[in-house]
């Protein structure tokens, strides 16, 4: 009983510590939402149409889902001190392959498509296996060949999109497969399916990193690779694994993207998503230097980016300004987290206190 109580206390203490570690991103998100609550009419309005929830907020979450999934994978890569800029291309490969499988290998442009009967499991399996192989390729380049991560993944970033275009023959391929389509546009219990997928991935990764040694080994590898290796960690395997996980996450995002628009355009699937993902991770408080990471922080980071984009869109800010706004908010959030800025504010506070005491 006592022990249970203690564990309960332990858990709430850990929860509090967890929230504290991502307090700045949380505050930033809260401020953007507060702004919308006051100034954007109907931002929080949710209505029920045909049994599904509709509103800006729902749209926001649905759009955030695939980006979040990529960012979660990216978090683990960054935690090992690496980076993966090929996630967009891997999404394109997975999406293109999925559509190719649905169409039975037919890449004739604008051919009228009959409803495909290919098993959705087969489609997903092929797409995600390809994504995993891409991740494995990255992982081997980084950990065995020892190429710098940004260069190693640049290879696949460039060639991957080319490969995806080969799969689609360079065309925008449409398809008709109700099951696959529902992964992007479907809903369940009123909520869009992509949201469920994102939550599922989040839980899988949380369990994988907390209930197995993976989380510890990732953090020790990123924190001090030499010390970790000297302590018997198979840092090579850890590195390969994180890239494979990031690859699979990108593959999932690629599936959602192509399911959402019911076609595959290899040139645009997941374009620039690596930048959004890296930004989400960094805003979420994970250091690019590796070591400590926070999946929850990444969730908040991805939500901040998407909320910002949606806010700017709903407030009809001219498109040419949105990127500037986005950049400004990112700079503010990063500054709030910077140790140097913190140090400076503390110093000022200390000085103030000293002067009031004097």
């Amino acid at each position: 009983m006592n022990k249970q109580l203690q564990q309960g206390g332990d858990f709430s203490a850990r929860l509090a510590a967890g929230i504290k570690s991502i307090q700045w991103p949380l505050i930033a998100l809260g401020m953007i939402l507060l702004f919308n609550l006051i100034f954007t009419e109907g931002f929080f309005e949710i209505s029920i149409q045909n049994g599904r929830l509709v509103g800006s907020l729902m749209d926001l979450l649905k759009r955030a889902a695939p980006r979040l999934i990529v960012a979660l994978g990216m978090t683990l890569v960054i935690a090992t001190g690496g980076i993966d800029i090929s996630v967009g291309s891997i999404a394109a490969i997975a999406g293109a392959l999925a559509v190719l499988v649905i169409r039975g290998g037919d890449i004739t442009y604008l051919a009228t498509q009959d409803t495909s009967t290919v098993s959705i499991l087969l489609v997903i399996l092929v797409a995600l296996s390809a994504a995993a192989v891409c991740g494995l390729f990255n992982g081997l380049l980084v950990s065995v060949v020892k190429i710098q991560p940004i260069v190693a993944t640049l290879i696949l970033m460039v060639t991957g999109r080319g490969m995806a275009m080969l799969f689609t023959g360079g065309y925008v391929l449409n398809y008709d497969h109700p099951g696959y389509k529902s992964l992007g546009v479907g809903d369940w219990l009123g909520l869009p399916i992509p949201i469920y997928i994102a939550i599922f991935i989040l839980i899988v990764l949380a369990v994988l990193t907390n209930r197995t040694p993976l989380g510890l080994l990732i953090q020790s590898t990123g924190g001090n690779e030499t010390a970790s290796r000297y302590s018997g960690t198979n840092t090579t395997l850890v590195r390969i694994l994180v890239y494979v996980i990031a690859g699979v996450c990108s593959g999932v995002a690629g599936i959602i993207f192509t399911a959402d628009v019911q076609s595959a355009d290899a040139a645009f699937i997941g374009l620039w998503i690596e930048l959004e993902a890296i930004l989400a991770v960094v805003i979420g408080g994970t250091s690019m230097a590796g070591g400590r990471y926070s999946l929850a922080g990444t969730v908040v980071g991805a939500l901040i980016i998407q909320t910002l984009i949606t806010t700017l869109l709903t407030r009809a800010v001219p498109v040419q300004f949105t990127l500037i706004f986005q950049a400004a908010v990112v700079v503010v959030v990063l500054m709030l987290q910077s140790p140097r800025v913190k140090e400076m504010t503390f110093k000022r506070r200390a000085r103030k206190e000293a002067s009031t005491h004097a």
Binding site: Q7, R211, T212, P213, L214, L216, L217, Q219, S220, G223, N224, T226, A227, S228, R229, Y230, S231, G232, T233, N234, G291, R292
Partner: protein, 534 residues
Amino acid sequence: MAPTDPKMWIRLSWIHENTSQLYMNANDTILSIKGLSKSFPGVKALSNVDFTLRRGEIHALMGENGAGKSTVIKVLTGVYKRDAGEIIYNGAPLDCKSPLQAQEAGISPVYQEVNLVPNLSVAENVFLGRQPMKRGCIDWKTMNREAAKIIRRFDLEIDIEKNLGDYPVAIQQMVAIARALELNSKILILDEPTSSLNVQETERLFTQMRRLKDEGQAIIFITHFVDQMYEIADTVTVLRNGTYIGTWPVAELNKLQLISKLLGKEAEKLSEVTASRSRNELGDERGRGQRVIETRGLGKTGGIKPLDLRVAAGEVLGCAGLLGSGRTELANLLFGIDAADEGVLLVEGEETKIKNPRKALQLGLALSPEDRKDQGIIGDLSVRENIILALQNRKGWFKTLSRAEQQEIADRYIEILNIKTPSADQAIKNLSGGNQQKVIIGRWLATNPKFLILDEPTRGIDVGAKTEIQKLIVELSKQEMAVMFISSELEEIARCSTKVMVMHDMKVSNILEGDDINENTIMHAIAERHTDGE
């Protein structure tokens, strides 16, 4: 107001000449450091260090790892801020706030790893940051001409327009020195310049050093090579564990005396043989247990020379020798950090190959590495995570230690080892050096190893923690663990070991057993090798 009387002129200039000479003599001293102290959190890096440097002098600064040699230089050049003490440079107090300021004042360090730009030309490197300009562009002609002139002074036959990286390290080092001197340096600091040079290259460097000395240049020569110090230096200052041991003219200090200063035992007392009492208390029956580690001709090309070694359960094999004698290299070889390419290794009688630390861990070996910060701790992680890391790795991916188990293990070792931390969840980087060291030892004890290698476990930690670790070593051997204990401090080697191995030049030079083990014999064993080398 010129004096009208010509005799007056002569007299005045005579006075002037003489006073200037007097002035020169009195100010022969270019740098004088007094009572220099510097602490880092949990570590007293320097306490009360004195150092005096004269013009035209090569002054060696010696000490084992962690003695504070580089800290002195870093304080001098403004990398660190000193806590106490004064630095008089050229007759005026000096307080450099940055290396740039030190450089402007004429203090130029040349580090062990040449910190120039390999993919720029030699000439560019010499003039890096102050290239001669002409109409807003770099004046290549002048720069190359000037650089060639400078390089020629060093008797170097190199093409100054080729990339610096195309030349061997020795040449790069020479270019770095040329650059430092070109910066109008009054004090040239050479930090372990010979550690990556071969004999001929070293000789070449020494020739240049002698020439500079004759020109009146003051040189600080940091080295751990005893023989080289005797070859080139005029004066030697010894530091040990951050304290100033003394300064001697090289001619007045023989090798045995020097080594005793380096390792911390007064040479005069060496004649008094003090048998180590605690070892006798432990009894002699130890060391007869089962043989845990055995090597037959184990070695690595370019590293440890083929070596036979036996460590039995309950035995503490002390490993002594100067820096660079092969102590750490041997530890790395046994633990699979470096792969052996000859000889045989047996763990508990079974022949095996240890290719990496993972394999070593699986076989029940453990290593607390020499460099705590870079090889031991994972700074951002908690004490708990740092403790369980090796155990979790030993258990493998599919046997996860639950949070409760982790907590229990961490708490146990925090208690056993008396680790001072607010909680197991404290980030290890916030602990003092001694407590960090205990965490690393705890990490390995948690794996219940058969053979524990401790590489300088007591370096840079406070006296209390030091004693605790020494006691722990004795305690572990009583529990039938085989321990290899590497240390630069002969006193603790003598006190804790049942057998002492003295290393020199990448091989075992001496093995001391039983009553032969005391500081005196170890010191003589070390010094013997060095005098042999003459």
